[in-house]
């Protein structure tokens, strides 16, 4: 970008065209009125081109005829005519033949001051000897009226010079304006979407003002204004606006806010603009020149601020802006010196440096924009990472918790098993050992076998219940199943009809040891029936109500008989002991051919059920 800028810059200053010396060349000018159709007869003075007629006829608004005469010996080929500019509008005649006429030769004048022209004049139009080129120029004293350099020569050379001039004066302007217009629009959109980025808005406003100002360079009519004065005043006002917006942009992009000074600046700029629009026609030229020079000098200020804040900021983007600001500042200082005549030059650098500033600032803003985007993206990545980490952490801690729970459950299970062994087999073993120690030397094998069998029964019960618990079945109903199955088969083998009725026990919440005690009591009771009762029918009923759990074992056997009293007593004793530990009430009622064992376990109901029923 910068390289191409420099290339164009060099191209702009390069054409130092040597005035082609034409044979017997003579240039003269004469004043006339707005409506003159032909050159005046008198009043011709010699001039040199380029000519600003206000140096000769100050404050003259109107038409000036320029006449260029030169000799051609026997013209055989066409010649090229290249005119750099005329200010503002005009008519061009070659040997009395009109070759160009601008659209509006009276106010509002066509604005042709920045339009180079090229004509190829055919040989037929040329005369042997003296040739006359007449140029009628309509102009206003305030805006440097007159005629720019006119070159006559070989068509190819003239065309090349013209094209070069056109590129510098118009093409370059149009393309830079297009670039800046798109940048400006882009940042306007960004600002509209994201009002917080106020620097974008000021950048856009500044560039719009600049575009307005530069419209002057490419406009060929005063549209949208009715007069040339209005157009010119508006152009100067755009410059004021540009300076204001540029200052604001610099302040905001450097993160500064100077509320009072900003208001003061805008008030002054508004007063200046109003003054411009109120200036009478005669003074417009001077006022414009005053404002332009003042604002050119003023516009050094924001550039100095840019350099100052940029260097102090220790931020790379602002360093870049500071460099751009410095270039612009140098250009403006140079232009001021040229404008005031301190430097002997007619080249103004600021129109090029303004483009550099526009592009540089846009680059910095875009860079900031993408940097913010990157920050958001990396924030997203970080967020994802931290979410992933948190998830893993959670997973690990859940797993740990699960393992802990598992260990806890296992420990509980082990404690339960220990209690079960201790309360059941352990107690029986101790009791049996004590019984055998006290017994005479000879113990009937039947008795010993009974001792061992009861041990085995208890072990089976423990194994069955802990196996059911391994399947996650803690409900009494499920724990009952193995015992029910085994006992039913045994009863069937003994031709005893067993009738089981197990109600809904879901609201019964007993601890595992309590469940086991209940099963032990049941097993003991059923075993007694099997061994001693000679019953034909057995009925087992488990049910629950608000009182608690009720277990009934009924049989139609002989009840307590003398020969079974001893063993039966031992069984009864252990059943009573277990019932006591359960906090239950055990009653045995044996009458009328029916023995009924009844066990009531109170407070075995879920607490909330109790509340529900009591309320």
């Amino acid at each position: 970008m910068l390289v191409s800028l420099i290339a164009l810059f060099v191209a702009a200053i390069a054409p130092a065209r040597a005035a082609s010396a034409l044979p017997n060349e003579h240039v003269e000018a004469a004043r006339s009125t707005w409506d003159s159709a032909s050159p005046p007869d008198s009043g011709w003075v010699d001039v040199t081109l380029p000519d600003d007629w206000t140096t000769r006829w100050p404050r003259f608004d109107g038409v000036v005829w320029y006449r260029i005469t030169w000799d051609i010996a026997k013209p055989q080929s066409s010649v090229g005519l290249f005119m750099e500019y005329l200010n503002m509008a005009g008519v061009i005649q070659m040997n009395d033949a009109e070759i160009a006429r601008d659209k509006s030769l009276v106010e509002p004048l066509s604005r042709m001051w920045n339009t180079p022209r090229y004509f190829s004049i055919p040989a037929q139009l040329l005369r042997d000897g003296k040739n006359v080129l007449l140029i009628r120029v309509s102009g206003l004293a305030s805006y440097g009226p007159g005629l720019g350099p006119v070159h006559i020569g070989a068509p190819d050379d003239m065309r090349a010079a013209f094209e070069n001039e056109l590129a510098v004066r118009r093409d370059w302007q149009i393309s830079t304006m297009a670039v800046i217009a798109s940048l400006s629009l882009f940042f306007l959109m960004l600002w509209l979407i994201r009002r917080k980025e106020i620097a974008y808005g000021w950048y856009s406003a500044q560039q719009f003002a600049w575009l307005n100002g530069n419209w002057n360079l490419i406009a060929t009519s005063t549209w949208p204004f009715a007069t040339t004065d209005m157009f010119e005043v508006a152009n100067t006002a755009s410059f004021l606006l540009f300076c204001g917006c540029y200052t604001m942009f610099v302040l905001r992009v450097c993160g500064q806010r100077w509320p009072r000074r900003e208001v003061l600046m805008w008030v002054l700029l508004a007063i200046g603009s109003m003054a411009l629009f109120l200036t009478p026609h005669d003074l417009v030229g001077q006022v414009r020149a005053l404002f332009t020079s003042t604002m050119t000098i003023y516009s050094i200020v924001p550039n100095v601020m840019l350099v100052y804040f940029g260097i102090r900021s220790a931020r790379l983007d602002l360093y870049v802006l500071a460099a751009v600001g410095f270039i612009n500042m140098a250009a403006l200082v140079h232009d001021t010196l040229v404008f005031t005549g301190v430097l002997d030059s007619n080249i103004y650098y600021s129109q090029y440096s303004a483009v550099a500033v526009a592009v540089g600032a846009a680059a910095v803003l875009a860079w900031n924009f993408t940097r913010n985007l990157r920050r958001v993206e990396s924030f997203n990545t970080e967020l994802q990472q931290s979410v992933e980490e948190a998830r893993q952490e959670l997973g690990t801690s859940l797993e740990r918790e699960h393992l802990l729970q598992l260990a806890h459950v296992r420990l509980n299970e082990r404690i339960n098993l220990m209690h079960e062994l201790h309360d059941g087999i352990g107690g029986m073993l101790v009791g049996n050992i004590a019984a055998l120690e006290q017994a005479p030397d000879y113990v009937p094998s039947r008795e010993a076998l009974n001792m061992l069998r009861s041990l085995r029964e208890d072990l089976r019960l423990i194994l069955d219940t802990s196996s059911a618990r391994n399947h996650g079945e803690n409900s009494l109903t499920k724990l009952l199943a193995p015992l029910q199955h085994r006992m039913t088969k045994l009863f069937e083998a003994h031709d005893i009809e067993a009738d089981w009725s197990v109600g809904n026990l879901d609201n019964i919440a007993l601890t595992p040891p309590q469940n086991l005690d209940l099963l032990r009591i049941l097993q003991e009771g059923l075993t007694n029936i099997l061994k001693h009762s000679r019953a034909k029918h057995v009925r087992v009923k488990l049910s629950s109500d608000s009182q608690g759990l009720l277990m009934e074992i009924a049989d139609d056997g002989i009840g307590m008989s003398a020969d079974s009293e001893k063993e039966f007593g031992v069984g009864m004793h252990s059943m009573q002991a277990r019932a006591t530990r359960l906090g239950a009430k055990l009653t045995i009622d044996s009458s009328k051919g029916t023995t009924l064992v009844r066990l009531l376990v109170p407070h075995a109901v879920h607490e909330h059920e109790v509340f529900a029923q009591s309320s």
Partner: protein, 223 residues
């Protein structure tokens, strides 16, 4: 029982006990052949054609389940009973899957074992709540698998491993009901119940190609 029976049991007292119980159900002592090791059992099996085999699981020279598999593959129609102590459920189910057609629980009274043997000799099949529970557990996992995890949503070649009737019988057993009570409850004969249970067991075993496929299917899904 007049035919020859193979008993594989390494503990002499238990061997004697089994002999006694077999005798009590009418099995003459000379027709019972006892082996204490797998090697002996295989030798005996190659010399005789047994009508039934009782196999203990813990043998000095190997696992009884392997022997069951071997016997079953040699003679798929041979009734094989596992003799196990303290109802180690997984072992019994493994044995059923290896081809056993029933089981005896050592810790039960002689009377109960004799009853089981009598039932078996009449074509009955033993089943206990814990076995039913195990099989139902396997079934649940299998249906979970077949409904979700089989590739391409393909239905397993054998359909549901167990029929509705078989499932309902297992559920009744798991609740603690005896076969007779189940027969009453379902309005079936006890013989039908036994047939169903035999089917259930055979569905567990690996004695044919289709069953191997099904078992592999179940197997992959249990783990």
């Amino acid at each position: 029982m007049s035919q020859e029976v193979l008993v594989v049991e390494d503990e002499p007292p238990m061997q004697a006990r089994l002999l006694r119980i077999l005798g009590s159900v009418g099995c003459a002592e000379h027709s019972v052949f006892c082996a204490a090791t797998i090697a002996q059992a295989k030798t005996l099996a190659s010399e005789h054609t047994f009508a039934a085999a009782l196999i203990d699981l813990g043998l000095p020279d190997g696992n009884g389940i392997d022997l069951i598999g071997w016997l079953h593959s040699n003679n798929p129609t041979l009734p094989i009973l596992v003799v196990s102590a303290w109802s180690i459920e997984e072992k019994i189910v493994d044995a059923l899957r290896a081809g056993a057609s029933g089981y005896l629980l050592k810790e039960r009274d002689d009377l109960e074992i004799a009853m089981s043997l009598r039932t078996l000799s009449k074509g009955g099949v033993p089943i206990d709540p814990f076995i039913a529970r195990q099989i139902l557990g396997l079934l649940n996992e299998a249906t979970k698998c077949s409904s979700g995890l089989l590739p391409g949503g393909a239905k397993p070649a054998t359909g549901a491993p167990l029929s509705n009737r078989e499932q309902s019988i297992l559920l009744h057993v798991a609740q603690g009901m005896s076969n007779r009570k189940i027969a009453d409850a379902l309005g079936l004969s006890r013989w039908t119940i036994d047939t169903h249970i035999r089917h259930i067991y055979s569905k567990l075993s690996v004695n044919s190609r289709t069953q191997a496929v099904r078992a592999a299917h179940l197997h992959c899904l249990f783990r």
